[in-house]
Symmetry: C2
Subunit: 460 residues, 2 copies
Amino acid sequence: MSENKIPYKIYLGEEDIPQKWYNLRADMKNKPAPLLNPGTCQPMTAEELGAVFCDELVQQELDDTTPYIEIPKEIRDFYKMYRPSPIVRAYCLEEALGTPAKIYYKFEGNNTSGSHKLNSAIAQAYYAKKQGLKGVTTETGAGQWGTALSMACAYLGLDCKVFMVKVSYEQKPFRREVMRTYGADVTPSPSMTTEIGKKILAEHPGTTGSLGCAISEAVEVAVSNPGYRYVLGSVLNQVLLHQSVIGLEAKAALDKYNVKPDIIIGCAGGGSNLGGLIAPFMGEKLRGENDYRIIAVEPASCPSFTRGKFAYDFCDTGMICPLAKMYTLGSGFIPSANHAGGLRFHGMSSTLSQLYHDGYMEAKAVEQTDVFAAAEQFARVEGILPAPESSHAIRVAIDEALKCKETGEEKTILFGLTGTGYFDMVAYQKYNDGEMTDYIPTDEDLAKGLSSLPVVPGQD
Amino acid sequence: MSENKIPYKIYLGEEDIPQKWYNLRADMKNKPAPLLNPGTCQPMTAEELGAVFCDELVQQELDDTTPYIEIPKEIRDFYKMYRPSPIVRAYCLEEALGTPAKIYYKFEGNNTSGSHKLNSAIAQAYYAKKQGLKGVTTETGAGQWGTALSMACAYLGLDCKVFMVKVSYEQKPFRREVMRTYGADVTPSPSMTTEIGKKILAEHPGTTGSLGCAISEAVEVAVSNPGYRYVLGSVLNQVLLHQSVIGLEAKAALDKYNVKPDIIIGCAGGGSNLGGLIAPFMGEKLRGENDYRIIAVEPASCPSFTRGKFAYDFCDTGMICPLAKMYTLGSGFIPSANHAGGLRFHGMSSTLSQLYHDGYMEAKAVEQTDVFAAAEQFARVEGILPAPESSHAIRVAIDEALKCKETGEEKTILFGLTGTGYFDMVAYQKYNDGEMTDYIPTDEDLAKGLSSLPVVPGQD
């Protein structure tokens, strides 16, 4: 390990927890397209959105002009439990790679939810509580978001109803039990407790569920039970807003040592982590103050950026949610069964989609055996067992560092280590046993998914 | 959450990682009794111990006079990955209990091994590497020690052979996979790969193994393979020495704010965490500089302190290890099958046993449903999902805080939160489902265990 004056971990103090979230949209010339009412194809009004989401979150969702939004004291107090999160100089990884590159990662797995999801969960639960609601509903796939929301609701004394994709409910009983330990009500989806669940089960009796289907059930329960609203862990503008604490802290820590990253890398499923990590850096880029190379990494088996279409689409399978303009594979697209971990949502944050469309960032798709090879290499030298999702970013960070080794360039790389892989050992076992496979969807697979795109006037 | 000037987390900087381990034995008037050769009943010599343990660790094991021992730079560099560990003021728990007590906990679960075990694992692996060895062998029950050692060996490029108690190997496949991900060779114990394993399997064909039996196998492999030594995660003096970083950091953090704990609480299985946490405080107590109430918490189902005998006993089932003088339930004692989690070793650190015998600390035994109730209460307000072992300390910390509520005393309580419970969700599920039971061994059970005590001259 080098004797560099930059410490292994750059810790910030409690006083360095951001006071305000940064709203990236305020600095975008081309704003993300508004959500549309699927019936009228008109922009969703605050009133319409208020039937599903908490009032203050609706304001945040629609606000694309205010650059900084105050973080309520109660949320900052909760953040103190696990924030500021560490930013680590990956000295050991650099040495193992023999690269002149300087690698940093912002580690968001240092809390029981095991990921960055808690940053938005506590915010959304707080506003629900403030509005006097009884509880919230949501869906969870890999389980990180559901765990985070359960924790936030336990802390605030809110009821929490989680629809967990049935295949995860069965294959990840431990994730389920963590949520139950925090007092959440966890239902496998599709279930017989909702109309949409009954309909889906009648049409597909043996289905093991999907994220899009669980969203539909959670929304139905929220709108049909007084005192409940629906909350979502990614994709939405409000979620990216809350997640900006990741980037703000990362930037503050690097600024302390006058470090400016050349390349910023994050995994991308719905975009919550990536949008949060890059927020202040992208803001500088949008304002022309600084330039950064920004790379979104997605699984080759669910390649919404690299092979999807930039179009209005449903966020859910039941097609009851608003339409969002995003890079999408179609709400009917489901990644191949060999795909492990999260990052399996068919669409991508409207904000990130617009930025990608406008050329402010790149995207790369990586195959999962390569991802797990990077995960294992990272774990052995850096100690932390990374989540499969985070390992997509590790893969590309290692690849970029190895390019530096060839060229001799001393580039500074920052990547987001969004979480830990303790609940993903089934996937690690497959990798350890040499049984993990890759799958790249064929053009035919993709065409089938995109055939479900809704018809929206003015869009081809 | 209170506006107290003491932050939620007291972070120390990298420069505050201890430079030296504190060797509690140097300040003890009554030294812990020496290890005995089971054949001769004479104190084990350095040469005899060197056949099993690394040379420098043998010196540490035998050294009961040097108060401070330098931590090699390479180990301190590794500590930088996850140390200093946070010390947390449990504001949320205090508020939930409505107690005037001030509760602090030292959290050692912020690393992938999920516990404090890494503190000694890296030290033991380092000395093995320094001696030019090829690898180390060990046993693991709950899996925390095996994980920690696998991580340390991966970092140093040492071979690591872990004998995992068969019932854990089968019931905790994810722990096993974490170790494999770090490159360890994991064998269910008893196995057909050792003479002692074959013997045990021949005598008890259906056995699911025990910690004492896995120790015997690991020792056999170490002594019969050139270039290998055996390492152990608890009980030994060297382990308590390495774990003193816990207490040294805790004391440094509290000293920063002039906080003096009245009560210090730790869970106790073999004593590694407790011995580390209390080290500098106990040192002050032994030297007459300060007084502290120190409480060891053990499971009612494995009550070595509260119901065991202070006597020489074997550390392993195969009876091939040296004899240690300790509070013991007999090497044949196995906790009831309903017992979840670790803290299931039949004996207790010789150092802690002597201190307990001499009246420097108290011990309490708690039942596991009470422990899990405390764990759940803690998780919901403090966020962290605690390990079942750590939750023994939480139970007593809460009980002491509730006593303060009755009396109005503003006592300061410090407890050790040794790890996280991510790999213990089977036990949590039992608790969540109301299926967890308690078992207190009968006097007959205990008499049966103690009947296996060896005959040692001069001891009744």
